[in-house]
């Protein structure tokens, strides 16, 4: 009993110290404010000037558009790059205040944060929905309060959504398939296709985009083996290893380049990591451009990468948010990041467009 009491007292003390620390910090600010006020009171002219300045500043602040950003995760560089343009433009023009809240992959947290942003009186809300269905009640709330919604990365169908900045996963995967069709020699071949999470619309769209393109191409000689990954590198490695026990692929189509290392490790273990141009080389193409896609291409293995220019989204979001806050109509309600292919010989030429090269410092 005594020990429990002691622990409770210690915990309470720690809590009090923490709260005191927080309030003392606020207190210091308040004290310095009042001190400043006293000083200005000594000089009437200075006081007037200060009041004028404050009024101008205040007016400036009220002119600023307040944008709430509800992100799904803070742990993906891709997401950070998607919003980079928004922050850069806001800083450059000084006309936008951004309040960002990160849901840390939790739908309930996202719903709570979303509502809190609306309650804080944001003019526009930008959201990367974790779950397209779970977010709908939050979107209803925003709609009822007249706050326009901008989606990014994932599409959500809702009347309150005025703009969406995303990539077209279906078309992107189609490009992977079209590339492999272009190098098909007509012989019987097996393609290993990595499949992302089937709970994620992007995972579903990429799978369908690839499979339907192959199916509709008339290239009946091509068989596709699906490698389940759930976007997890370990699962990708495991299932690649398993599939390689049964079949030798002619090509690998990886729907997210962050799993490249797993695919290549499995190929290496199977003795199939053979450089481009050499006999027995397995065609390799991947999507998104995330690391280490460029490295494997530079090392002489990957044949084609498709880069999603994540850094193009932010500027579009900024423009849309500004227009919506000013009550303007948008010319288009969707922006698709224009995914582009890069061949090994184009790597140098397109380096400025590839975000993983452009923002190398961010990647560490």
């Amino acid at each position: 009993m005594k020990r429990k009491r002691l622990v409770s007292v210690l915990a309470l003390a720690a809590l009090l110290v923490g709260l005191t620390a927080c309030s003392s910090a606020e207190g210091t600010e308040a004290e310095s404010d009042s001190a400043a006020a006293e000083e200005t009171a000594e000089d009437a002219a200075a006081e007037d000037a200060a009041a004028d300045d404050a009024a101008t500043e205040e007016a400036g602040d009220t002119d600023k558009i307040v944008v709430g950003v509800s992100t799904d995760t803070a742990t993906t560089v891709f997401r950070q790059v998607e919003l980079m343009g928004l922050y850069n433009m806001a800083e450059e023009n000084g006309d936008m205040e951004i309040i960002e809240l990160n849901a840390d992959n939790d739908t309930t947290t996202q719903a709570t944060q979303f509502r809190s942003l609306i309650d804080q009186g944001v003019d526009v809300i930008v959201c990367c929905a974790l779950d397209q269905d779970a977010i709908l009640s939050s979107y209803d709330y925003a709609y009822s309060k007249g706050v326009p919604i901008i989606n990014y990365d994932r599409k959500v169908e809702h009347e309150g959504v005025k703009f969406t900045a995303m990539y077209d996963s279906y078309s992107d995967a189609k490009q992977l398939a079209e590339y492999l069709l272009s190098v098909d020699d007509g012989e019987e071949h097996t393609i290993f296709l990595t499949v992302g999470s089937l709970a994620d619309p992007n995972g579903i769209a990429r799978r369908e985009g690839f499979l339907e393109t192959i199916e509709n191409s008339g290239h009946d000689n091509l068989k596709v083996t699906e490698i389940m990954t759930d976007w997890d590198v370990d699962m990708c490695l495991t299932n690649m290893q398993n599939a390689l026990q049964v079949e030798t692929p002619w090509a690998v189509a990886n729907v997210s380049a962050h799993m490249d290392a797993s695919c290549y490790q499995a190929l290496e273990e199977a003795g199939l990591m053979i450089p481009r141009g050499e006999e027995g080389h397995v065609y390799y193409t991947s999507l998104s451009g995330e690391p280490p896609a460029v490295a494997y291409m530079e090392d002489g293995y990957t044949d084609m990468i498709f880069v999603i220019p994540a850094d193009t989204a932010g500027e579009q979001i900024y423009n849309a948010a500004k227009a919506l806050a000013n009550g303007e109509e948008l010319e288009s309600d969707v922006f698709y990041m224009p995914t582009f292919g890069v061949k090994p010989e184009e790597l140098e030429e397109k380096a400025d467009e590839i975000w993983t090269i452009k923002y190398e410092d961010l990647l560490g």
Binding site: V195, T225, V233, D234, M235, H258, P291
Partner: protein, 329 residues
């Protein structure tokens, strides 16, 4: 004289259900896909499941005491991020040692919160999970990091055709099984899980025993992290996310009771093998990704049904035995 185990004794083992599940699945695969029986495939499966196998040994100890540790995935993640950070500063052997020690420290922290401060085990380890994830993020940032080759030595090496992770898993499983069945500590672990109050009244130091189980679990999770880093070769912020649930599933499939007091290290390792056999089956039989989730769930249900059935049969025979003795009395 004990002339070996009778069939009745064999079927009363709590790992028998998962063993039957493994055998049946093995047979189905062997018949339907000849490549399954290749030695490289068998070695692959054992190497693949070694990460969970190692973690499941530690988890079995914690669950045997009636506790639960949901921070194992993040302990492994934290260990990897720490190894990555230390990779340019320390020699490899020292990095591994530091990693295992940090796993023990995490286990000790969990043990102190759960056993000394009496926080509910789930809440205590949930807190550690969040802390470790946060620290891990700080250590690697938000981008995928690649593990230096020298740190991958354990994850990718083989002795002959046998993968080193598999050897580590077997060594830890044997040591764990010995510790649980043949030592005083193991018996105390089961006693605490079986009835905590009786254990206290019997004079056992429940706090020490529970903390010890958590320390073991932390160490196993850290070794799991070392194996993962070597095997996969990269660390991303989502690495090891949700692994605790797979480990717990394997342990429970292996016949360990969630309420504690009854456990089997052999069963836990067999549980991991079962999960990876299922994974292997899905890919080898080229089952469409949409059906894989359903097939996985059905196979798990099947394994649990065998467990429920064997437990039910054992209970019936125990009751019959008791009634017989009572009538004789």
């Amino acid at each position: 004289m004990n002339k070996g185990l009778s069939m009745k004794q064999i079927f009363s083992r709590n790992w028998i259900a998962v063993a039957i599940g493994n055998i049946l699945l093995f047979l189905v695969l062997a018949v339907s896909q000849p490549a399954f029986l290749q030695i490289t495939n068998i070695m692959n499966i054992l190497a693949q499941c070694s990460l969970y196998g190692i973690m499941s040994v530690g988890m079995t100890f914690v669950i045997s005491t009636g506790g639960i540790d949901i921070s194992v995935g993040m302990t492994a993640f934290f260990t990897m991020t720490l190894m990555w950070r230390l990779s340019s500063m320390l020699p490899v052997w020292l990095i591994f040692l530091v990693a295992i020690l940090m796993g023990c420290v995490v286990g000790l922290f969990n043990g102190v919160m759960a056993a000394v401060l009496n926080f509910p085990d789930m809440i205590a380890t949930l807190a550690s999970m969040s802390i470790l994830r946060g620290v891990g993020y700080l250590l690697i940032g938000s981008a995928q990091k690649f593990v230096p080759d020298e740190l991958r030595v354990i994850g990718v090496s083989r002795i002959g055709i046998i993968p080193v992770p598999m050897i580590i898993m077997l060594a830890i499983a044997v040591a764990g099984a010995f510790l649980l069945s043949n030592t005083r500590f193991g018996r105390y672990v089961l006693a605490v899980g079986g009835n905590k109050n009786s254990a206290i009244f019997s004079g056992l130091n429940v706090v020490k025993i529970r903390t010890g189980a958590y320390v073991l679990c932390g160490a196993c999770a850290a070794i799991g992290g070392i194996v993962y880093a070597g095997r996969v070769g990269s660390i991303s912020p989502s690495s090891c996310n949700g692994y605790e649930f797979t480990v717990i599933t394997a342990v429970v499939l292996g016949g360990t009771k969630m309420s504690g007091g009854k456990s089997s290290i052999v069963g836990s390792v067999l549980g991991c093998i079962f999960l990876y056999l299922v994974e292997n089956a899905m890919t080898m039989l080229n089952i469409s990704s949409y059906y894989q989730t359903l097939a996985r769930a059905l196979l798990m249900l099947f394994a649990i049904s065998i467990d429920t059935f064997t437990t039910y049969r054992n209970d019936i025979s125990v009751r019959k035995e008791r009634r017989k003795r009572f009538l004789e009395f």
